[in-house]
């Protein structure tokens, strides 16, 4: 594993600290202890369980001391890229800075120690906080009601589709089962539709990557439940025909769902309800700075029109009779998608972020996100084509097709080589409508120097493509591990450490 770095002009590869770490299950010694519990200080108790109920063999787990545990996980942490180490220009993910104030607030015992089965009276401060967030999200989107229940974006999509289905069923429209989805959509969109028992119908995009109105008009009809659109779309472009799209879908009896993954582009600039949408989900772990945590937890609250509000799951936070309450709505249909009230801890982080920014700050977030993306796109003009660059907002999609044809270098190779330069790769091979796609979203957190370094790295990679393509095919070179044998992982799945513990 490399510790050095090489320099060419402004562009250096970066070295990684630490080495690979043995599995927990291969370490450990019998008799080592970390956590000890306070002993039982009451009268002796016969707590023997009936033999039939008992586990046959005690669970074989590694025994470690606390210093060993801390060392294990601390060493592991050094093997991760993270926002504090460098940029993540991941299109569609909005990897912005995760403010530490959010963490401090969510961990306050007054919030963290509340049990969900406690009475409303015990949680007045928390309920007021959730009420504020519901209210702020409604104001940002210009919608009438909000549910904080969904634990992730895909979960929000699922709930949103439930709401639309429930709406149609209540009107007796049992046949409205089709949801139109552009071919540029994220995979969770059709998956969510299917899970609710509806049918995703794909509509083609135009050459400029936006929804094809003619295709839309041809696809709507009496079976249309609605449409699911990301706006700006997955190419970072605003759906300029959205008002007309809304008219067409509403006229056909359907409702519009907005996938809010790209909300970071339009805070204070455009509001989903104004565009004609009926439901939106918001990814708090994208637009509202809550941490990605290596894959979660996120939160995907949904906001809806007054018409759809009766179909939101209860209970919702509301102020009744001078106090904050978790109130069951006078609902027609009460789907339930979470054990309790959603990822409350994540909601508190998002609320903190909104309070610090304020309305003016949030609008500035979008302005700078869009500025950063356009700056990078323009700087890359002579480096890599961006087929749908006109009207770029907060992200854009470059295509490595030309590089593939000229140098045999694919988007994957570019992504892997970027890792050597201390930058996480952009999103690759998405959206599906662009060949050899590299989706770049810098976010507003990145200073100009970091954007310039990213452009310089890509320029260097182009040079390497022209002069030493094998270097790229074999990248990354300076990371703790090199390219992985994914075929072997799939053919011979090894998904858990099976051997005995504490044999070290």
């Amino acid at each position: 594993m490399e510790h050095g770095h090489e320099t060419t002009g402004d562009v250096t590869t970066v070295s990684w600290g630490g080495g690979l770490v043995e599995s927990l299950f291969a370490t450990g010694r019998p008799g080592r202890r970390a956590l000890r519990l306070p002993p039982w200080d009451g009268a002796p108790v016969d707590a023997a369980l009936p033999p039939a109920a008992r586990r046959a063999a005690p669970c074989d787990l590694p025994s470690l001391s606390e210093p060993e545990v801390m060392r294990h996980f601390t060493r592991l942490s050094t093997l991760n890229h993270n926002i504090e180490r460098g940029m993540y220009p991941l299109g569609s993910c909005t990897m912005k800075y995760n403010p530490r104030l959010n963490e401090e607030i969510a961990a306050l015992p007054g919030f963290a120690s509340l049990h969900p089965e406690q009475d409303d009276a015990d949680a007045q401060g928390l309920l007021e906080a959730l009420g504020m967030l519901q209210d702020f999200l409604c104001r940002l989107t210009s919608f009438a009601a909000c549910s904080l229940h969904p634990a992730a974006g895909a979960h929000g999509e699922f709930l949103g589709m439930q709401v639309i289905r429930a709406f149609h069923l209540e009107r007796g429209d049992r046949d409205r089962v089709e949801i139109l989805i552009p071919d540029s959509a994220h995979g969770t969109n059709p998956a969510s539709v299917t899970m609710v028992g509806m049918k995703p119908v794909t509509i083609a995009s135009r050459a400029d990557g936006r929804v094809d109105l003619a295709a839309l008009r041809g696809a709507v009809g009496p079976r249309t439940a609605g449409i699911m659109i990301t706006n700006p779309n997955t190419l970072g472009l605003f759906e300029t025909d959205i008002a007309e799209i809304a008219r067409v879908v509403h006229a056909a009896g359907g409702r519009l769902y907005m996938d809010g993954a790209n909300f970071n582009a339009i805070l204070g600039k455009a509001r989903p309800a104004d565009m004609g949408f009926d439901v939106v989900h918001i990814n708090l772990h994208k637009t509202f700075s809550t941490p990605h945590g290596g894959g979660g937890p996120g939160a995907g609250p949904i906001c809806v029109t007054a018409e759809l509000a009766p179909f939101l799951p209860g209970p919702l936070v509301a102020r009744r009779g001078g106090a904050w309450r978790l109130a069951a709505p006078e609902a027609v249909c009460t789907p339930s998608v979470h054990s309790y009230y959603g990822n409350v801890g994540i909601c508190l982080r998002a609320l903190t972020y909104i309070l610090v920014n304020g309305g003016n700050g949030l609008r500035r977030v979008s302005e700078l996100a869009v500025l950063n993306a356009n700056y990078v796109r323009v700087c890359l003009r002579d480096v890599i084509p961006v087929p749908h660059g006109e009207g770029t907002l907060h992200e854009f999609v470059a295509s490595a097709t030309e590089w593939k044809e000229k140098y045999g270098i694919r988007a994957l190779d570019v992504a892997k080589r970027l890792l050597d330069f201390g930058v996480h790769a952009p999103t690759v091979y998405f959206p599906l409508i662009v060949d050899e796609a590299l989706m770049v979203e810098p976010t507003e957190s990145e200073p100009k120097e970091s954007l310039d370094a990213f452009v310089a790295a890509l320029r260097r990679i182009l040079h390497e493509a022209q002069t030493d393509p094998d270097l790229l095919h074999a990248a990354p070179h300076t990371t703790p591990v090199s390219r992985l044998d994914e075929a072997r992982a799939a053919r011979q799945p090894d998904l858990a450490w099976l051997g005995p513990c504490n044999c070290g």
Partner: protein, 125 residues
């Protein structure tokens, strides 16, 4: 040069007929386009399959491709060796990498299959 001891389909399967039993596999072109095959889902022996229907899937790390049946009939046998070691499809798609044996419902469908020369033309050879 495409092997002329068998027939082909536009979706890159090959069919070799002996008596009323057809052996089906995927071509070298298909195997190389797919990349490393990691998993195969093949039809149950004893099941009836029809021409043109998706009867199984071939999975690589990043994609899932449908396997379309080039013939109609009853599935007699599927190749356990490729189920256990999917890489055989990449290494030897024409021989050891056969996928299933089917008892033909009729012979007329065979006329619609491509000859070796026609398949080669399709590949742009």
């Amino acid at each position: 040069m495409v092997a002329d001891d068998r027939k082909y389909t536009k979706s890159h399967e090959w069919v070799m007929v002996e008596g009323d039993v057809a052996t089906v596999g995927v071509t070298e072109y298909a195997a190389s386009e797919l990349g490393d095959v990691v998993f195969l889902d093949l039809p149950e022996p004893g099941s009836e399959i029809n021409l043109g229907e998706p009867v199984g899937t071939i999975e690589t790390v990043k994609a899932v491709e449908d396997l379309y049946s080039p013939v109609s009939g009853e599935v007699l046998e599927v190749n356990q060796a490729v189920i256990d070691s999917p890489e055989i499809v990449n290494n030897d798609p024409l021989e050891a990498g056969w996928l299933m044996k089917v008892r033909l419902a009729g012979r007329s469908e065979l006329d619609d299959l491509l000859s070796a020369a026609e398949y080669e033309t399709l590949l742009g050879g």
